[in-house]
């Protein structure tokens, strides 16, 4: 459904991404792994239209979406849950969720709202609370819920486990599998290697703006040499 080919992108004179080619098929969970500063968030932001690539093409369901603005990317069915959650702290939980449907699936807002409150009962208890007063885990749920409000076909999760307690991390990865089972493709960008490989179908390892390694998640977990060299395990 998503095909990225030869993407180069960056800030100022520096190319952070130096030729990225990858694909995501329907219903897959694809993990992009790598440590800080290798270009994981840049990749997400190129796909979401925040950063325009200098070279390369992005196709989504046979449409060229290279360089389209973020709102068009949301419109075709790609939502990003950004690193650091980026919820609207001055708005209530309910309003945050409603804004998730700003560009897409607005006519089904009520139904999606109920569905998301069923997935995250803790949000339902806090609908009138300002998002800024939620705990980190709750904000992460809200950010995912907001992303789901647009009924995306592909959900990009940027470091969803960052800053969460171990129990919440566990819960987060269970959730990723659960929403994937409902037919959503997921691009999971993480530093948490073991758990990401545990839920992903395939994985890419990003190093210095290039993919150093790609393959099935199960193979990567099993291969002792790869584990040592690239995953630091």
């Amino acid at each position: 459904m998503l095909e990225i080919s030869g993407i180069k992108a960056g800030y100022g004179p520096v190319n952070v991404l130096q030729g990225i080619t990858m694909s995501i098929a329907d219903g897959e969970i694809v993990a992009v792994l790598g440590s800080n500063g290798v270009g994981k968030s840049t990749l997400n932001n190129v796909v979401s239209g925040i950063i325009k690539p200098r070279e390369g093409k992005i196709r989504f369901e046979d449409n060229d979406i290279t360089g389209h603005p973020p709102r068009s990317i949301v419109e075709v069915g790609i939502s990003q849950v950004p690193e650091g959650r980026r919820v609207f702290p001055n708005l209530s939980v309910k309003e945050n969720l409603e804004l998730g449907a700003f560009r897409r699936a607005r006519e089904r807002m009520r139904a999606n709202f109920e569905r998301i409150c069923d997935i995250f009962p803790r949000l339902r208890e806090r609908l009138d609370q300002l998002a800024g007063t939620l705990s980190g885990g709750e904000q992460q749920m809200l950010a995912i819920g907001r992303g789901l409000m647009a009924e995306p076909k592909l959900l990009i999760l940027d470091e969803p486990s960052l800053g969460l307690s171990p129990i919440m991390v566990e819960e987060m990865f269970n959730l990723v599998q659960r929403i994937n089972r409902e037919g959503l493709a997921i691009l999971l960008v993480e530093q948490n290697v073991v758990q990401s490989l545990g839920v992903a179908t395939r994985a890419y390892v990003l190093e210095q703006g290039r993919f150093a390694l790609e393959g099935s998640a199960a193979d990567m977990l099993a291969d002792p040499r790869l584990r040592q060299t690239y995953l630091g395990l």
Binding site: S48, I50, P69, P70, R71, V74, E75, S79, Q80, P82, R85, R86, V87, F88, P89, N90, L91, E95, E98, L99, G100, F102, R103, R104, R146, A150
Partner: protein, 289 residues
């Protein structure tokens, strides 16, 4: 003397309502775009001339001009943000400051060039009709100005708090990246805000002209007070602008009463200095982080 205080307070509230309305536009632009709009007073002056000429050439009553002038000024504000401020500032906030300052100089001097510095007023048959409110007699246009300003503030508040664009505006104000990622068009939202802020001064112009005058410099008097109002209320605070606008109107009226009419504005700037000394975040502002 005490029999004069209540009328002064009531009169002050009618002036203060206009201050509040102008400040609401300014605080909205500051709160969302994070820019200080120096052209706010010039746009008020432009709107005053607009209403003046509509009356001069077409005999249009200033109140009936509201449905014409307000949408036009919304579009003007929208266009200024989209066509001038956004492209010329290149996203840097210090540039925006200079762009709005330049804009105000250009507008003011063009007004001076085309319309000269003559003071112009319009005379309306009802301008001196008095309304008796308790112990006070207040000119009808000022009573209208008070209630119309409060109505505008209410409408603005409903738009910001209840509508889809209002939610988008509040989202963009604090979390721009998050707003982009849910598909909000940030530049469009900025321009809508600038448009609404400009529409506020257009309403104020229609309410002011029956009892006021217009010259190319008239904006300065109001923009200084508007800045004071915004700072007093807390930068970007809606309720703060409303309350402190009314408060400054009353302070001005009371100082006028005790110190003499022409010295009324001393009170406004005294209040400004005091607030900067003792509560720099303003009455309703969040403390600086």
């Amino acid at each position: 003397m005490s029999s004069l205080i209540l009328p002064a307070i009531l009169g002050g509230l009618t002036t203060g309502a206009i201050y509040a309305l102008i400040a609401l536009g300014l605080t909205l632009i500051y709160g969302v775009l994070h820019i200080i709009n120096f052209a706010h007073g010039s746009l008020l002056m432009l709107a005053l001339y607009g209403v003046y000429f509509l009356h001069l050439f077409f005999g249009l009553d200033p109140y009936l001009a509201i449905p014409i002038v307000v949408p036009l000024f919304f579009l003007l504000g929208y266009g200024i943000q989209r066509g001038i401020i956004a492209p010329f500032s290149g996203g840097k906030e210090q540039n925006v400051l200079l762009v709005t300052l330049a804009l105000s100089m250009i507008i003011d001097n063009l007004a001076l060039y085309f319309w000269t510095s003559n003071t112009r007023t319009i005379s309306l048959p009802y301008a001196y009709e008095m309304v008796e409110i308790g112990p006070a007699f207040i000119p009808l246009p000022r009573v209208i100005a008070f209630f119309a300003s409060m109505l505008c503030a209410l409408i603005l508040w409903l738009v910001i708090s209840r509508t889809r664009i209002g939610k988008a505006i509040r989202a963009v104000a604090v979390e721009r990246r998050g707003a982009e990622l849910v598909g909000i068009d940030v530049q469009n939202t900025y321009a809508v805000c600038f448009g609404i802020g400009t529409a506020c001064v257009a309403v104020a112009a229609c309410l002011l002209i029956p009892t006021f005058y217009v010259t190319p410099q008239v904006g300065y008097a109001f923009v200084l007070i508007a800045f004071t109002t915004v700072v007093l209320g807390g930068m970007g605070s809606f309720l703060g602008a409303l309350v402190s606008g009314l408060l400054l109107g009353v302070i001005e009226a009371l100082c006028g009463l005790f110190l003499g009419e022409s010295l009324g504005q001393i009170g406004i700037f005294l209040a400004f200095i005091l607030i900067l000394l003792f509560r720099p975040s303003g009455l309703f502002g969040r403390r600086a982080a």
